[in-house]
């Protein structure tokens, strides 16, 4: 495998932005990531994005995105209808073939244009599950209930455990200019707030966020020449579970565990981990399956601080890479997820030199 590193990262988030469309979210992050990479736009070998047509409510959202990213003269380009963390995976594969040495990855989405928790019911089996119209939050609440009832590997899980995740995330989010939710709050205050989708409270759920992110990756010496301290991708893998939640043990996450195993993440030793935990209980499950107890989790505040769908997983990679490049961390884990109750998971291990 060729050594590949993240050499630049930019993000943009907003709550219910009524001023800017998707293109206006993409242009600044692409410009900043390209500028910070030190490469000219057309010296970047491969371009790829991740987005979801149902967020904008029409086909081919990525087509206008390409105009924003710049594609003249014509570029080698692809797109995944997935969180853009998977776009980064495809870009990493393109570099592994030897065909290109660098890639621009970007992801974007305006979740505020729709009732995203309701609309994403359309991810479910269209014949048997979707007609019942469970929202994303409804399904997550089922998973949280399973966790509270069944525990984690024999350890009890309580609503207080969920609130601890929320309190820490909200406090950390105060230091992140890109977080749209942040507050200095204690566990008892959180537990006094109303339960809105039992057993979840509003603060257990990632906020509906508009946003975008862009990353430039490069191989070997090119990365070393361009970046003082590249964040090397030491392992990256992704796995999927069966769609029907009735076939899964919801107190664990087999695909995240398997992706972690294949990415070489299970021996631990991480300074930080950025987990795409869109619900407080997701973090408990992920920490358990990835063996992260003792690691600093989501110093950015995580998805509970800002969760621009289709960019949020890529932001997790960017947040870890940013800290490694700044010298604040030596080794970190980034995670992305999509699908009901964390059906599909990606794990990326990053390290300094």
């Amino acid at each position: 495998m060729r050594d590949v590193a993240v050499i630049s990262f930019a993000q943009e988030t907003a709550e219910n932005d009524r001023e800017r469309n998707e293109v206006e979210f993409i242009i600044p992050v692409v410009q900043e990531a390209v500028r910070a990479s030190g490469l000219a736009r057309h010296d970047i070998g491969f371009t790829i994005s991740g987005s979801c047509d149902y967020l904008s409510g029409g086909p081919f959202t990525f087509v206008q995105g390409l105009d924003a990213a710049g594609a003249w003269p014509p570029v080698k380009e692809s797109h995944v209808e997935m969180d853009s963390a998977w776009a980064l995976y495809e870009a990493w594969v393109a570099i592994q073939t030897g065909e290109v040495d660098s890639a621009l990855i970007y992801g974007f989405g305006k979740s505020s244009l729709t009732d995203v928790h309701e609309v994403f019911n359309l991810q479910n089996d269209p014949y048997t599950v979707a007609p019942l119209w469970p929202s994303t939050v409804n399904l997550a609440a089922l998973q949280a209930s399973a966790l509270l009832a069944g525990g984690l590997d024999g350890r009890d899980v309580t609503e207080r455990d969920l609130a601890e995740v929320v309190a820490r995330s909200r406090r950390d989010a105060l230091d992140n200019p890109y977080a749209i939710v942040g507050e200095d709050v204690d566990v008892d205050t959180l537990l006094a707030r109303p339960v809105t989708s039992a057993p979840l409270r509003d603060a257990d759920v990632a906020p509906v966020t508009d946003g975008s992110a862009a990353i430039v990756i490069a191989a070997g010496d090119l990365a070393r020449d361009l970046c003082e301290r590249p964040a090397w991708i030491r392992g990256i893998d992704h796995r999927i579970d069966a769609p029907h939640i009735g076939t899964r043990d919801l107190t664990t996450c087999r695909s995240a565990r398997r992706a972690g195993e294949e990415a070489g993440a299970l021996q631990g030793g991480f300074d930080i981990a950025e987990l795409h935990a869109q619900f407080s209980h997701d973090e408990l499950i992920l920490r358990n399956v990835l063996g992260l107890d003792g690691t600093t989790i989501n110093p950015s505040g995580g998805a509970l601080g800002a969760n621009p769908l289709m960019a949020s997983g890529l932001i997790r990679i960017g947040e870890v890479a940013r800290r490694i490049s700044a010298g604040d961390a030596g080794r970190g884990l980034a995670h992305a997820t999509q699908g009901a109750c964390m059906q599909q998971n990606l794990v990326c291990v990053l390290e300094g030199e």
Binding site: P59, V63, Q64, W72, P73, P74, V75, E90, L122
Partner: protein, 388 residues
């Protein structure tokens, strides 16, 4: 190209029809996948990763349907990627699968593309007016017709050229039992008399709307050498994209298409495509796109594409058969249509194309797909023999 030689060792596709009421989406994709695996002498357990492609999710009303299809495609516990690059997606998806093998990451990858267009209406699905943008409620035909008129004006092509393609591809489809349209009585007069949709395109100049799926098993050299049936070796892959809104674009003869062809020809050692290929499966959803792509892909000089069509050069018995399977004009499950092109040329060089098999001389063939506003291109060259 990557270090690992890569080949197609399994090809499967459904029959294509207007509406498959007998299967769910899962049933549809599984039909193609099982056929490809049987061809490759494998089961789902042998597969390392799955790559799914389809066009916009508005076509079926399911967001990221590959999530729901994970178990039907045997992907549980494995990596599953979902590609979406507009009309070129079937081709791009096959290329993404091939790269996983070329890069040495996996040895056996199953790739599947599909569209179940009967779940929705494609022209509607393509025509949603986006906020803050000009309404273009035209569908694909309405978008491409002005480009075709520009081509006619530039090249001076006679008006019947498109109709010749419409007849040629439908007659070719009669030899393909899986083609959607079987129109034995079609002739120039029938096409000319079919009703006008978007000048100059008449009803029979356009592709159908189909339910269907295509699947390929792509494998590394050592696996391909041990496969029960012949391999189609991948000699080159390329993708190119250009922007939608750029006044400097030539939408009739796009630069991205020319660049993509030049790249894939260079990888595969193609200097004269008309002579170096035994056949080509090219994305021709509207009849006039045959002469237009003949020029864009360098099979002739600019302005001469219609002359090749008129002379019968692209017919199954011509010197360079284009779309011997019947092409997109005979079957069009949109998200799969590109992969069908890629898979049909694999079948040709494997000499497994049945009644529409072409004679192999060079043993090489070109698969092509395009999408968006003539701005996304994917191509591959496959060969009977291993690349050097």
């Amino acid at each position: 190209m990557g270090a690992v030689r890569t080949a197609v060792i399994g090809v499967g596709q459904t029959r294509h029809v207007s509406a498959r009421h007998d299967v769910s989406m899962a049933g549809l994709v599984r039909e193609a996948a099982v056929e490809a695996l049987e061809d490759a002498g494998m089961g789902f357990d042998d597969i390392d990763a799955v790559v799914v492609g389809k066009a916009p999710d508005t076509f079926e009303g399911v967001i990221m349907p590959e999530l729901y299809l994970a178990d039907a495609l045997g992907a549980v516990g494995k990596p599953l990627l979902r590609v979406h690059t507009a009309g070129s997606v079937g081709g791009s998806t096959a290329i993404v699968a091939a790269k996983l093998v070329m890069a040495g990451i996996h040895k056996r990858v199953l790739t599947v593309s599909f569209e179940k267009q009967s779940e929705s209406n494609a022209t509607w699905g393509l025509s949603v007016q986006m906020p803050f943008s000009a309404p273009l409620v035209a569908g694909a035909g309405g978008y491409f017709a002005p480009l075709i008129r520009a081509y006619i004006a530039r090249s001076g092509a006679p008006r019947h050229i498109g109709h010749l393609v419409a007849v040629k591809d439908r007659l070719a489809a009669l030899r393909n039992p899986k083609a959607h349209l079987h129109l034995p009585d079609i002739d120039l007069k029938t096409v000319e008399e079919s009703f006008l949709l978007w000048d100059p395109l008449r009803y029979l100049d356009t592709c159908p709307s189909s339910d269907g799926a295509m699947a390929l098993v792509v494998a590394a050299e050592d696996v391909a050498d041990a496969a029960p049936n012949p391999a189609a070796w991948i000699h080159g892959t390329a993708m190119r994209s250009e922007p939608t809104m750029f006044a400097g674009r030539d939408q009739v003869n796009p630069q991205a298409g020319k660049d993509c062809a030049a790249d894939v020809y260079k990888q595969a050692g193609i200097t004269n495509p008309r002579e170096d290929f035994d056949c080509a499966e090219i994305y021709v959803p509207f009849s006039w796109y045959e002469p237009m792509w003949l020029e864009n892909l360098g099979f002739c000089a600019e302005g001469d594409g219609w002359k090749l069509t008129e002379a019968g050069a692209t017919a199954p018995d011509g010197d360079i058969p284009w779309n011997p399977s019947g092409g997109v004009l005979s079957s069009n499950p949109i998200g799969a249509s590109g992969m069908i092109r890629f898979g049909e040329v694999a079948q040709q060089v494997r000499e497994r194309a049945g009644d529409y098999q072409v004679e192999l001389k060079t043993g090489k063939a070109l698969g092509h797909a395009y999408g968006g506003g003539s701005q996304f291109f994917s191509m591959w060259v496959v060969g009977r023999d291993k690349p050097a």
